[in-house]
Symmetry: C2
Subunit: 402 residues, 2 copies
Amino acid sequence: MPFATPAAQVADDPSVAPGTRRMEIGAFTFADVSRDSRGVGPARRLPELVEEIALADEVGLDVFGIGEHHRPDFAAPAPVVLLAAAASRTSRIRLTSAVSVLGSDDPVRVFEQFSMLDSLSGGRAEIMAGRGALTESFRIFGYDLADYDQLFSEKLDLLLALRTGEPVTWSGRHRSPLERELIHPRPVQNPLPVWLAVGGSANSVVRAGKLGLPLALGIIGGRPADLAPMVALYRDVLARADHEPRPVAITVHGFVADTSQRAADLYYPGDAEVLNRIGGERGMRPMSRTDFDIKILPGGAYAVGSPEQVTEQILHLHEAFGHQRTLLQLAIGSVGHRDVMRAIELLGTEVAPAVRSEIARRERTVETGSPGPGANRASGLAGLPLTATEDGAVAIRHVTGP
Amino acid sequence: MPFATPAAQVADDPSVAPGTRRMEIGAFTFADVSRDSRGVGPARRLPELVEEIALADEVGLDVFGIGEHHRPDFAAPAPVVLLAAAASRTSRIRLTSAVSVLGSDDPVRVFEQFSMLDSLSGGRAEIMAGRGALTESFRIFGYDLADYDQLFSEKLDLLLALRTGEPVTWSGRHRSPLERELIHPRPVQNPLPVWLAVGGSANSVVRAGKLGLPLALGIIGGRPADLAPMVALYRDVLARADHEPRPVAITVHGFVADTSQRAADLYYPGDAEVLNRIGGERGMRPMSRTDFDIKILPGGAYAVGSPEQVTEQILHLHEAFGHQRTLLQLAIGSVGHRDVMRAIELLGTEVAPAVRSEIARRERTVETGSPGPGANRASGLAGLPLTATEDGAVAIRHVTGP
């Protein structure tokens, strides 16, 4: 087998206390493609993505995620297929869906597929289960959106039962029953990691806590710090349900380039195009460049900028959430392969080491009781995004020129 | 992109007349694993299989297939996941399910997954759709075996509609309807190749002919030549339905080693173990070594032996069927990785070139009207498997010693 033992601990290993595990840094994408036949289509984009995941592995990123969508603008209705192709080109990076739309799928198929991926990757497969932000799959697979939450809840229940390793007897409203069925192949990891991905619904956060599942919180706008109570709620529910501490992942739109100006100029067009297309379907107001520039201010919703700025942004997030994994939605819309490759390189070689060493430094500082500079940085979030701060100067420079 | 343009023509390209395309040689397996925890399990077997497919590509084999099963003794409930892992390690070999159990699956998912595989492999994906010899999947996914044939027929109809490239409006008894739905991503190949795999049922053969699909005929016992009328029937139905000629694939149990004795000794235990386990579930008489030795006689059901013997056996098949693709079920039961690797090497470097050059020689002979030696070989099949022939001497030597 060509695989090294994964360097990272099993992602939801409860024996690793949140405070002591190193921050995992990774990337995810929905495999965006152009609908214009002159643009980049699936035949080019999917092999490019395998190259991007291979580079992410090489530069030491911890996780790569692929989102499931059933639309012409995203090329990965079955993330596991792309992740399996990547498994052969990688040896350490963890491979996850981001997300699997569980409510419109069959948990038995999902388990079988990710269990195969787990063997093919030497134990690096993960499932991020979510209700799904977009709803095409419900129409295509014949489900009623009126059952949206129950579909997810019931199928998550079955997925979790399948990974126990015991024969499963199960019945529900939206899938045929199982009678003492043990599904094969069994995964390498026991249990196969399943994260619960939430978009900010308190009910979903409570569900993750009650089930004792690691939480992935998606941030797409607003002030991330405003969502800190959600993570506090999650940890509270976890503790009340007598579960061990579980890791928290924060997922954000993000991009890294050699300069802040270049990062914004490369990321904005694709990001705006995708958000406006999807937002337009929902009757939302289009995002302008000004909206975007506000989002990338320190403490804002996006982690877009130079390596230093993205490092700072992830540290802001860490101050707000004390989380263990940060995933950046790097490749979105029309951002080109070469620029995504450079972003992955910078994320792995500059951002990740800087984030980890700063977090380690702060934790040592907390242990020794000495409040070093930056220990109180979270307070700086309060006045954002428009109040000038020491970091605001960077943001303004970044709006007006390189 | 790391992919060369596939050397082989698109598999069911009707512009290539059967008589003029070169014989494709390939292998397939069900990803057999041991149920004994001391044996080879999925964590080892699935990565080994990726190595085997990579070698098959390297030595110039044309196709590799993976069978779908939902049982503890086979590790590939989702062949596409393994094929995607192999796509990253190969550049020319075609990657196919063998088979996809379409009746218990959702054709939309199957299309989406193989369409992704098609992009990931640079246009090398194929689906071999079959009703399924084993029936666990119907129980697990909640289908009634009373609908066995209708499930397959209806879902094949939908799968074929999905690959046309036009929005699909469809309704049936066993899957929710679609209303002007175009499923993405679109495959590289247009259309994505779909073969119809049959086990010898005349109804299935007629179905393939009427639909104009390439036919894959599975042989597991008896005298292959006895099935020649099935292929004649298929070609007749094809012609009557005004379809262009389509290729025919023959799939057999087969194995190659440096000597005939070694091939039989390596292949027999696993083959017997698997057939007796599955046959036992169906109340069949166990296969003995004598039964096996009869099957590997020239003109028999199996292509097991030295490179020369396997070459002869494929030529016997070609005389009987005039087919365009031969797939050997190389890796079965407990045959070890190293021996399968050697078998693949011999199949690619010795058997395939010898088969192709002999077929080309015979076709030249037919063109010039000169009946060379071997042109009339099909008659030799009549007295098999027990009548002594010129090849029988080889078989007997092979039973009694090296």
